[in-house]
């Protein structure tokens, strides 16, 4: 009988084999345990890196901000100022050009972080002027950058990114 067969069939060999098999079974769990935190951190970092619009493009504390959406201008103003989290805020949207097919709305969220749906319903208060109330919540992470994604049905969505006061 070859030596390696003897070694495997001996008691010590069986013990070594069992240990090896046990370690093999633990390997996937070890990989999951070690890789999961890296995957979570990596995904978060990549998500933040992939967002070119993560830089602030609007100073809501100073006044209204304007961006182009589907060939028309959308101007967003938030009051009262300074814009604080955890307080009732008034959102005012002014659209140039023809009125949209349906009333526009705003989704509030943090760039690169899921916060759940926080929609501001806007109502028409004048020609091309829409208003609604909403709340920007406070994130315990300390991050202050928020986005207001303005959707105008039939024209698209544009994001206003700004810092809020906690």
């Amino acid at each position: 009988m070859p030596d390696f067969v003897k070694a495997l069939t001996s008691q010590a060999g069986r013990r070594t084999g069992n240990r090896f098999r046990r370690r093999c079974r633990l390997l996937p769990a070890a990989l999951i345990f070690l890789c999961l935190p890296m995957m979570i951190w990596g995904r978060t970092a990549r998500a933040a890196d992939k967002l070119p619009h993560i830089t602030v493009n609007c100073d809501v504390h100073k006044g209204a901000c304007t961006q182009e959406i589907g060939g028309v201008e959308a101007t967003l103003d938030i009051s009262p100022k300074p814009v604080k989290a955890m307080t009732d805020l008034r959102f005012r949207l002014m659209l140039s050009g023809k009125p949209p097919a349906a009333e526009p709305y705003i989704d509030l969220g943090m760039p690169g972080m899921k916060m759940g749906p926080n929609k501001v319903r806007l109502e028409k208060v004048g020609e091309g002027v829409y208003e609604g109330t909403g709340i920007i919540v406070r994130c315990p992470s300390g991050k202050r950058t928020w986005k207001a994604a303005v959707t105008v049905p039939g024209r698209g969505t544009v994001e206003f990114i700004f810092d809020v006061v906690y």
Partner: protein
């Protein structure tokens, strides 16, 4: 009036998706701490009690939001309490980390091998495992008050459903239903984290256990600093 509303389903799925991102990062350390402290005991009953407690708090807050129809009114009143809870959670994680490593002889807080000899301690010991498992429900109740962005977002929606409801009872129930849906949605992600931390091989590897306890202490300190600055 149907029992489950479309908005409840929206927040059920919102809780599910937020759970795998935000909640793992924010509440993961607490869940891992509890899981490591359970040692050889079964994971499911303590965790179901913990989540039942957490969701009960969400339901109470959702009911209050729905009833008042104002997020800022209620949120302003509980802000101090939430800050206190964040400090409590941080200290709890630190104490658990210290106890796990046995640097200070206080025994695992919710563990099953705490074996003190004092008169009061013996009385507690007589209550046995049931008491130490039951503590997960009030713990869930308290930690449900932790400040959290997605929870706030769900509470804003709960207040809105209250505004849209026909009467106070309907408003309260609508707010509660939405928050329960959201809370239930967050369970799978947190259970997954708890299950991973509860793997037998992981708990019985001294080095990993030690590293885990040091990480817990670090996370606990981070929680306390965040709470003080909140």
């Amino acid at each position: 009036m149907s029992f489950i509303k479309p908005l409840d389903l929206v927040f059920l799925f919102s809780g599910f998706s937020v759970g795998f991102g935000h909640c793992i990062g924010m509440c993961g350390p607490i869940v891992v701490s509890l899981s490591l402290n359970l040692k050889t005991r079964s994971l499911w009953i303590p965790y179901l009690l913990y989540h039942a407690g957490r969701i009960t708090t969400y339901a109470i807050l959702g009911g209050l939001m729905g009833f008042s129809g104002s997020f800022t009114h209620i949120a302003g009143r509980i802000a101090g309490l939430q800050k206190g809870m964040m400090i409590f959670a941080g200290l709890l994680i630190i104490v658990m980390g210290v106890a796990m490593n046995r640097w200070i002889s206080i025994g695992p807080i919710f563990g099953n091998d705490y074996n003190p000899d004092g008169v009061v301690s013996r009385s507690f010991r007589k209550l046995g495992k049931v008491q130490s498992t039951a503590v997960y429900f009030p713990l869930g109740l308290l930690l449900g008050l932790l400040p959290c962005g997605p929870v706030y977002t769900a509470l804003v929606a709960a207040a809105r459903t209250g505004m849209d409801a026909g009467n106070s009872i309907e408003a309260t129930l609508a707010g509660m239903g939405l928050m329960v849906s959201f809370g239930v949605g967050t369970i799978p992600a947190l259970l997954l984290v708890a299950r991973l931390a509860h793997l037998n091989w992981l708990k019985h590897k001294a080095v990993i256990y030690k590293i885990g306890s040091i990480l817990m202490i670090a996370v606990g300190i981070y929680f306390v600093i965040k709470a003080v600055r909140y």
